[in-house]
């Protein structure tokens, strides 16, 4: 195991294997050039909400794709639950299926449609269950994508900058919604983002990825609901921005 990582992990309580949703052990990824992920090691506990910050090209999307099973990885470096779901930056709904069919797609339970309806109620989109995806607004489409992920009852929910393409007001609503859904269903969450505020609003723990290695791994011990105005919030914000190479004046 890499020195930096062990030292960073040291202040985290050691958990029993059954408490762990995700375990990454010495994961290295390269695409023929310099390594995108360099000997990464970390774990995510069951029900833990982890935000992964990083600048463009830091390898955070590669890490998420690897956890999602979209990019291959040596099996000994990775433990992930079977039940996982991904919400991408774009909704990626099938335009030729109505919203409900999109949400229930691939569900193998007998009451798939019923479950899908329930998920749509949770994301406040049940009035659009018969709509074609291309008629949805950006926020609605992303809520449908969220319902599609939720309905699979994931133990690990992977969010790849899911709010990046939304307008500011819609983004705030969506952040609130994700927080509520996480509290209700308690999946482990890995939220990839470049928005420090978003990470601090939602996450139990924030990691900063820099040049394919974890540069910061911090618990966010602020009371919920989180407020931008809190002194603690601001302190962490400055610290994380510093880790991302942005100095606030």
């Amino acid at each position: 195991m890499n020195m930096i990582n062990t030292s960073l992990m040291a202040d985290r309580p050691v958990r029993a294997e059954s408490d762990v949703a995700v375990a990454v052990r010495g994961l290295t990824r390269d695409f023929g050039g310099p390594a995108v992920l360099r000997d990464l090691s970390f774990s995510i506990a069951r029900g833990e909400f982890v935000a992964l910050l990083g600048r463009s090209g830091s390898g955070k999307s590669t890490l998420l794709r690897t956890l999602a099973g979209l990019d291959p990885a040596p099996p000994e470096t990775l433990t992930v639950p079977r039940a996982r779901a991904v919400v991408f930056q774009e909704p990626r709904l099938l335009p030729w299926k109505r919203v409900l069919a999109n949400v229930s797609l691939g569900l193998r339970t007998p009451n798939a449609a019923q479950k899908a309806r329930a998920a749509l109620v949770e994301v406040e989109l049940s009035h659009r269950e018969n709509a074609w995806p291309l008629t949805l607004s950006g926020g609605e489409a992303q809520r449908a994508a969220l319902a599609r992920a939720l309905v699979r009852e994931p133990e690990l929910l992977l969010l790849d900058e899911p709010f990046a393409a939304l307008d500011a007001l819609t983004r705030m609503r969506m952040q609130g919604l994700v927080g509520e859904l996480w509290a209700a269903h308690q999946p482990a969450v890995l939220l990839v983002t470049h928005d420090v505020d978003e990470a601090l609003l939602l996450a139990d723990r924030v990691m900063v990825l820099r040049d394919g290695a974890i540069a910061v791994d911090r618990q966010v011990e602020l009371p919920r609901p989180r407020r931008h105005a809190d002194a603690g919030f601001n302190r962490m914000r400055v610290e994380l921005l510093g880790a991302l190479g942005v100095t606030a004046d």
Partner: protein, 278 residues
């Protein structure tokens, strides 16, 4: 007047356009062809051209009526339709099969694509002499030619459609736990459907062209036979009947594909806009 113009909101301008919009869509589209037919008749009445060279619509209609009464019209249309139905079915089936094999696997692409692309460059009508030598002058060469001509547009458009299926959607389908077969069924094939329907439209067009050429060689029935026979008896009016039937059949098949598009591609923005505009 100017006062009225100022108070005219956009809503009432839209309302003034409504009577025309409310006219049946078919009538709106048929308007210009009807005017052309009327001008054609008028030109004949004014003696601009002789009835022998360009028979007016009334004479053509009369000839059509006579052919219909004698039963010749129905028989010959039926024979022609049968040729297209058989040939097109075979062509679409083979084109679809090849496109699926080549589109869904690299191995299939290597085996099929270059060969099909090579054969495609050959104008299929150039094969008529060979077809006659191989299959004689019966139905087989005609149906084979139609099948051959219609399979390429299906193959090309469906293959492109399959390969053009959004990689991001396929990826998302993978994360939803869809098997490879389900991904093809729910993601790849629906994505390729618009291409397939474009191919079908082109295939119909080629079928009619092929039919016209094939029927003018050694046919003993069919619209082409009707036309060639009329030429021998200098019956320009019957030739016009044949041409009109070709045009109507082409129109019919085109609108049937249009219907399929409306039905199967209802999710597309173009159709969605029409729906909300109603």
């Amino acid at each position: 007047m100017s006062g009225a113009a100022i108070t005219l909101p956009t809503a009432s301008r839209a309302a003034s356009r409504l009577p025309w919009r409310r006219v049946n869509g078919f009538l709106r589209r048929a308007y210009v062809p009807i005017v052309i037919v009327l001008l054609w008749q008028a030109g004949s009445a004014l003696g601009l051209y002789s009835v022998q060279t360009v028979p007016p619509p009334t004479v053509v209609a009369q000839a059509a009526w006579q052919l219909a009464c004698s039963g010749q019209l129905a028989i010959n249309i039926w024979v022609s339709l049968e040729r297209v139905a058989f040939g097109l079915s075979i062509g679409v089936a083979i084109g679809t099969l090849f496109a699926l094999i080549a589109g869904l696997s690299r191995l299939g692409e290597d085996a099929i694509d270059s060969t099909v692309q090579m054969v495609r460059t050959l104008p299929h009508l150039a094969l008529i002499p060979l077809m006659i030598m191989w299959f004689g002058i019966g139905e087989t060469p005609k149906i084979t030619l139609i099948a051959l001509g219609s399979m390429f547009p299906i193959y090309l458009n469906l293959f492109a459609g399959i390969r053009g299926a959004d990689r991001k959607l396929r990826e998302a389908a993978g994360t939803l736990g869809l098997s490879q077969f389900e991904t093809i069924l729910h993601v790849v094939l629906p994505a390729a459907l618009p291409g397939f329907l474009v191919g079908l439209r082109q295939a119909f067009g080629i079928s009619w062209i092929t039919l016209v050429v094939a029927e003018q060689i050694n046919a003993s029935a069919g619209i082409g036979y009707l036309v060639m026979n009329a030429r021998d008896f200098l019956r320009t009016d019957i030739i016009f009947v044949g041409l009109t039937i070709y045009a109507l059949l082409g129109l019919l098949t085109d609108s049937s594909v249009r219907f399929l598009e409306h039905h199967f591609l209802a999710w597309r923005p173009a159709y969605l806009k029409q729906e909300s505009g109603k």
